[in-house]
Amino acid sequence: MKMKKSLLWIVVLLLSIAMVAVFSLAGCKAKAAAEEEAAAEEEAVEEEAVKEEVEEVAEEEFTILYVSGIADPFMYMLGKGAKAKAEELGVNFLEAEYAKSWGPEAQIPILEAATAAGGIDLIIVVPTSTEALIAPLKKLYDQGIAIITADCFLGDGDYSVESNYSFPLAYVGTDNKLGGLQIADHMAEMLGEEGEVFIQNTNPDTSSVVARGEGFTEGIAKYPNMTLVGEEWCLDVQQTAQDQTATILQKYPDLAGVFGVNLFSAQGAYQAVVNAGLTGVVKIASWDATPDLINALKEGKVDLVLAQKPYEVGQLSVEAGYNYLANGIEPDKRIIPGFEFFTAENVDDPDMQQWIYQ
């Protein structure tokens, strides 16, 4: 009897928690939706204005659609860059919904919904799968819509060779291997071109991080007095990254630098260094200028952060697309914007703030 009573209380408690959660979530959503609507209306008005202006100047007008990969700072930056360029060139710019999760099962419905009404000349898409996005994009391509893939690519990313995925105009995005190479150069510079370094990697089955590791390995090989003592895989578990770097520090007490290929591996590596009491002695390099990593840099936890340029990726995509639509100029199949590097010295530099993802 007593148990039953307590059970009842638990159920009541749970229900009330669930209800509060549901209501607050629904409230948030409604608010967000209302804001979005307002923003969309505003945009529509602006677009209308732009449209009229363009119509007066030129006969032809173009509409570009941006389909992002996931709702994160990187994708927002990409969209912002694309939008700014589109406004500059007087092109209509539409943004499809930002997906809540990464993957074709979320992205394909968004893509289809956004293109259903027609009237689109070019799609800038971040394909979330190298394979699953080929068919739906090919369908749109066959309807006469030009495709540019940004940040990620279809197949192996080589559109210059004839294949079932070579139809996009271009790939605009980062060269991960090049980034790894450049990190190696910066690391060498920080360490006076000597010492032992280590790669704290994440997943051996993800092409981007593998390429970063390969680039770094090649880069370090150029320096005769530098040795790469190993590469470990933490599977995106920070605790594991910490374990692995701690063990490497035990094995190589004179370790001078670690390249953590993403937030998790860099943070784990840093924790191991703190744990060993070697803050500032062992240099940590990392990838992606997210607010987290920039903050870590300011706190002295990380010594070097590579920033990709999502804003430029967006701009370059729109530019290439516009040149093709308006002037018939075929862009390069691969357009690679450079990188920026954050260090403790330049992190507060006003010029550098534009490269932080937000």
């Binding site: 590469e231 599977l235 995106d236 924790q271």
Partner: protein, 358 residues
């Protein structure tokens, strides 16, 4: 003559039985001996300190799993409950810190709320298992998924950063710091050390070791010397007999699962102190399986009724030493997966060869 022979026989038998009971400890000693020769810098107080320090969350999870497994159940939710408490307490700490609360206040409120909330999944598990006869495997698997989902909703798939200061100072601190010939200090490292001297700083007894010692001592005492502990064994030995003996098994099991969940929550809060960020638990982490393996290696039976806290601790240390020793012996990461699996199986096969002696 005859009696003499008998006593020798019984002596050797009891020796063998002690050996069989503590084979895991023996195995650890053998491994330490082997790795001392093969591993670079394996045999050093620093490395052993590191192994203990980085095992903290595994020790807590294995202790919680010990109680559950002795009753003949299993708890697959501990890893995700740990992630939940880590993210929840980190989020609260971050918000309070951002609202200008003092670090001490925001850290303690965050920790306490994290601990309290993490009792809930265990309570629900206990009720489901006892009142609704849901098998522990299913109930805790489901609860793990729910906890993981709530965690990911809260942190949106990113670790929680921007936490108040001092966290990692406490979590990664040591009791005694010695700079040979120059300085000695307690709790904080001596002030004004040059960066070059950091590599020479000797640190003795991590805070985590004392924390572990206290928690493990309490749990050992509960299991070994209290009525609660005896009832736990009784339920695992035979549920029917326990009921007939007048034990309130339902109430007892609810407490056991709640305790398990609470210890997982404690591990999560400790994780925030150790890493300085709120980590969600990725599905690749498999914390619960590592904990269960450690408990089984430590002499518990999945059928229930058997198991010791001390054994589980040895199990954790065994797993950690295999990983650490192979790493320091220069075995490549992918081969290490194979080796850990093999040693694990061989170890338990040895255990099964001596069932009669137990």
């Amino acid at each position: 003559m005859d009696t003499n022979k008998n006593s020798i026989l019984s002596l050797s038998q009891s020796l063998l039985s002690i050996l069989a009971r503590n084979w895991a400890l023996l195995f650890v000693l053998v491994l330490i001996l082997i790795f001392s020769f093969t591993g670079i810098n394996f045999f050093s107080y620093k490395n052993f300190q590191n192994i203990f320090h980085l095992s903290t969350i595994y020790l807590l999870l294995a202790s919680s799993e010990t109680f559950v497994i002795i009753t003949g159940g299993i708890d697959l939710s501990v890893g995700f409950v740990m992630g939940l408490s880590s993210v929840l307490s980190a989020t609260i700490m971050r918000e309070l810190h951002a609202a200008n609360f003092t670090p001490a206040l925001s850290i303690s409120i965050g920790s306490i709320v994290g601990l309290i909330v993490c009792i809930i999944p265990g309570l629900i598990n206990g009720v489901l298992i006892t009142k609704y006869r849901v098998p522990p495997f299913i109930s805790t698997l489901g609860m793990g998924g729910i906890a993981s989902g709530i965690t990911l909703v809260m942190c949106e798939g990113f670790p929680v950063t921007f936490l108040p200061p001092y966290l990692t100072g406490i979590g990664n601190g040591y009791l005694i710091y010695i700079l040979p010939g120059k300085a000695i200090s307690f709790f904080n490292r001596p002030e004004g050390i040059a960066v070059e001297e950091l590599r020479n700083l000797i640190r003795i007894i991590p805070n985590s070791l004392m924390f572990n010692f206290i928690i493990i001592f309490i749990l050992w005492h509960i299991l070994k010397n209290t009525k609660f502990g005896q009832h736990t064994y009784a339920i695992g030995g035979s549920m029917d007999a326990a009921v007939r003996a007048g034990i309130n098994t339902n109430k007892h099991l609810i407490i056991i699962y709640t305790l398990s969940s609470f210890l997982a929550g404690l591990a999560g809060v400790f994780n925030v102190f150790q890493t300085g960020i709120g980590n969600f638990t990725p599905f690749t982490a498999m914390y619960e399986l590592i904990a269960i393996a450690a408990v089984i290696i430590g002499g518990a039976s999945l059928m229930g009724g058997k198991g010791r806290i001390f054994g589980s601790i040895i199990g954790v240390i065994l797993l950690r030493i295999i990983e650490n020793g192979l790493h320091l012996s220069g075995v490549d990461p992918f081969f290490r997966f194979i080796a850990v699996g093999l040693i694990l199986i061989v170890a338990v096969v040895i255990d099964q060869l001596f069932p009669d002696l137990l």
